[in-house]
């Protein structure tokens, strides 16, 4: 029988086909947290369905607490983490919105809870699809935020996230964001490490002053103006340190599997004159568009930001140093101002031309052609009157 493929199949047995949700669940099974308080919400459900199955099958000793809300789920996770148990959870969209009060508390109480977020639009109108507006709601909460680009990265960053969250210099929640549906529900090849390798990598949970230890302590104390400011500054400094301790963690992870991560990644940036900055699952689509333009002799490149909080501003400035024009792609909006990734990029670089592009709200598709159109736009003089370009929507508005 003749195949439509012309080349020979390869040996890909090291991979399994998993959705991003299943890949996160595999990481959870191997990390084997003590407590997993959770409330279900689309598109986080594939994570908790698969993980609950593992627990039911006796493949994880985790205690799943089925809370009556995300607010309670996060509260239980904070309590467990401070008591001395490794606690993890997962949520999305309205669920993250509902738990946000406790997310701020988790950061200020220095509870190293790793949270998987299936990034989804916020209501309204109600919508179940992917964008980053839920994550941006937690932008200033003081948690570490990572936005991954593949199911493999979702798995890898859950594992690395535990080390980062629990690092003695950090002790903060880590939020691993994977785009709703585009990653949570997309099936692709994922390499899963040996259980023992993951367990050795994350090590035992060793919170320095757990509530259940012999040493008495106070958590969640009241702070008057003479203390609040300095405590806040300690928390800010801890988040900044996450960037400093990350390279040692990514290096030791690379030793396990050969996959070496950095806070951000440049593609075709060596001689790029025009560049785009993006986060999340559309990195690959952007790289396809860059390849297409490179074939036409255009010097373009793309920088993908993985670590969003703390923001790797020095690394980004270095990547974009020689670029003449930049387009920053945000999958969230800041009505009345510019969106988050744009503002952070603007603050990091001295490039005169930085355009803001909003794309993919509520799951709107982003095509390589949409990206090519933005690169074309960067060649033309800037239009001050209309500073934000809505990729995949402006065309529709203009037809009206």
């Amino acid at each position: 029988m003749t195949s439509w493929f012309t080349d020979k199949p390869q040996d890909l047995r090291r991979f399994r086909v998993l959705t991003g949700g299943q890949a996160v669940a595999e990481a959870l099974r191997q990390i084997d947290p003590d407590v997993f308080p959770v409330y279900p919400i689309t598109p986080q459900t594939p994570i908790i369905e698969a993980f609950a199955q593992c627990v039911a099958d006796g493949r994880s000793h985790a205690r799943i607490l089925t809370a009556e809300s995300e607010h309670s789920a996060m509260s239980a996770a904070v309590g467990a983490a401070l008591a001395g148990a490794r606690a993890m959870t997962a949520t999305a969209s309205q669920g993250l919105a509902y738990m946000i009060e406790i997310v701020y508390l988790a950061a200020s109480l220095r509870a190293p809870v790793v949270i998987a977020v299936g990034n989804r639009a916020l209501s309204g109108p109600i919508n179940i699809h992917g964008d980053h507006s839920d994550g941006m709601l937690a932008r200033d909460s003081g948690v570490v935020q990572v936005y991954v680009t593949t199911a493999q990265e979702a798995y890898d960053w859950m594992v690395m996230g535990v080390r980062l969250a629990e690092h003695g210099e950090v002790l903060l929640p880590v939020m691993v964001g994977l785009d709703g549906f585009t990653l949570t529900h997309s099936a692709e090849p994922v390499e899963i490490l040996a259980d023992a390798a993951v367990q050795e990598f994350v090590g035992p949970y060793a919170y320095p002053y757990p509530l259940l230890s012999e040493v008495a302590g106070t958590y969640g104390a009241f702070a008057m103006p003479e203390h609040y400011f300095e405590i806040k500054r300690q928390q800010i400094a801890a988040l900044e340190r996450a960037e400093a301790v990350l390279p040692a963690i990514t290096r030791s992870f690379a030793k396990l599997c050969g996959r070496q991560y950095a806070p951000l990644e440049g593609y075709c940036m060596e001689d790029a004159e025009r560049a785009m900055v993006i986060m999340g699952s559309q990195r690959g689509t952007a790289q396809e568009a860059v390849d297409k333009l490179r074939e036409r002799g255009q010097k373009v490149g793309v920088v993908t930001v993985r670590l969003f909080r703390p923001f790797p501003r020095r690394d980004l400035a270095e990547q974009l140093r020689a670029v003449q024009a930049i387009a920053v792609f945000d999958r969230a909006s800041t009505p009345g101002s510019f969106p988050p990734l744009y503002l952070d990029t603007r603050a990091a670089v001295r490039t005169p031309r930085v355009d803001s592009v909003i794309y993919g709200l509520g799951g709107r598709d982003l095509t390589p052609d949409d990206i090519v159109a933005v690169f074309d736009r960067l060649k033309r003089p800037a239009v001050d009157a209309d500073p934000i370009f809505y990729a995949g929507s402006d065309e529709i508005e203009q037809e009206r």
């Binding site: 439509w4 012309t6 020979k8 890909l12 997309s186 099936a187 692709e188 699952s281 690959g284």
Partner: protein, 187 residues
């Protein structure tokens, strides 16, 4: 790269078919990507699912606009959803029905495949496995061994009778696809 688009209604197994095809492609030595595109996420609502397979890792994440093959699990979608959109001259539109005409302006190959009837005769509740088999037969990959492993993996928790019926339906589909298999080169 091979691009397959699935049209169905919530509950007909379009998402499972896209996923299963991806599992089988990996076992066959190709890099797959499968993803669903839900409407309002309820039984009976139209859903689209996609499978891509290639000789190298797939980066492109946008919806498939130019599919090599389109499967329509529910023929009533033909009047509701532009199922034939983007199918090039060499592409295929495979519709779950005994007979019917191609949509206006369509210049690919139409294949009316009575999947429901085949599934019923095989004792299977859903026709999706018939079409998985038909696609694999038509493309020439994945082979039956890898399809069998994929069905085992994805439907492993189903009762044995259900599994056996699904498998019978898949095999019939595969045979019919292989009969129509064409020499075609995908770059």
């Amino acid at each position: 790269m091979i691009s397959i688009r699935w049209h169905g209604r919530g509950g007909q197994g379009a998402k499972t078919a896209a996923h299963l095809m991806a599992v089988a492609f990996l076992k066959n030595g190709r890099y797959p990507l499968a993803f669903p595109e839900y409407g309002p996420e309820r039984t009976g609502a139209p859903i689209t699912a996609y499978t891509r397979a290639d000789s190298h890792p797939i980066r492109l994440r946008s919806a498939i606009q130019v599919p090599d093959l389109v499967v329509v699990l529910d023929p009533s979608l033909l009047g509701e959803v532009p199922v034939a959109d983007g199918i090039p001259a060499g592409g295929w539109l495979i519709v779950n029905r005994p007979a019917g005409t191609a949509p206006a302006g369509f210049d690919g190959t139409l294949w009316n495949l009575a999947g429901d009837q085949i599934a019923r005769e095989a004792g299977a509740r859903f026709a999706n496995t018939v079409f998985i088999g038909a696609l694999a037969g038509l493309i020439g990959e994945p082979d039956l061994t890898h399809l069998r492993e994929a069905v085992d993996e994805v439907m492993g928790r189903l009762a044995r009778e259900v599994f056996a019926a699904s498998w019978r339906a898949l095999e019939v589909g595969f045979g019919l696809g292989a009969e129509r298999g064409v020499h075609r080169v995908i770059s």
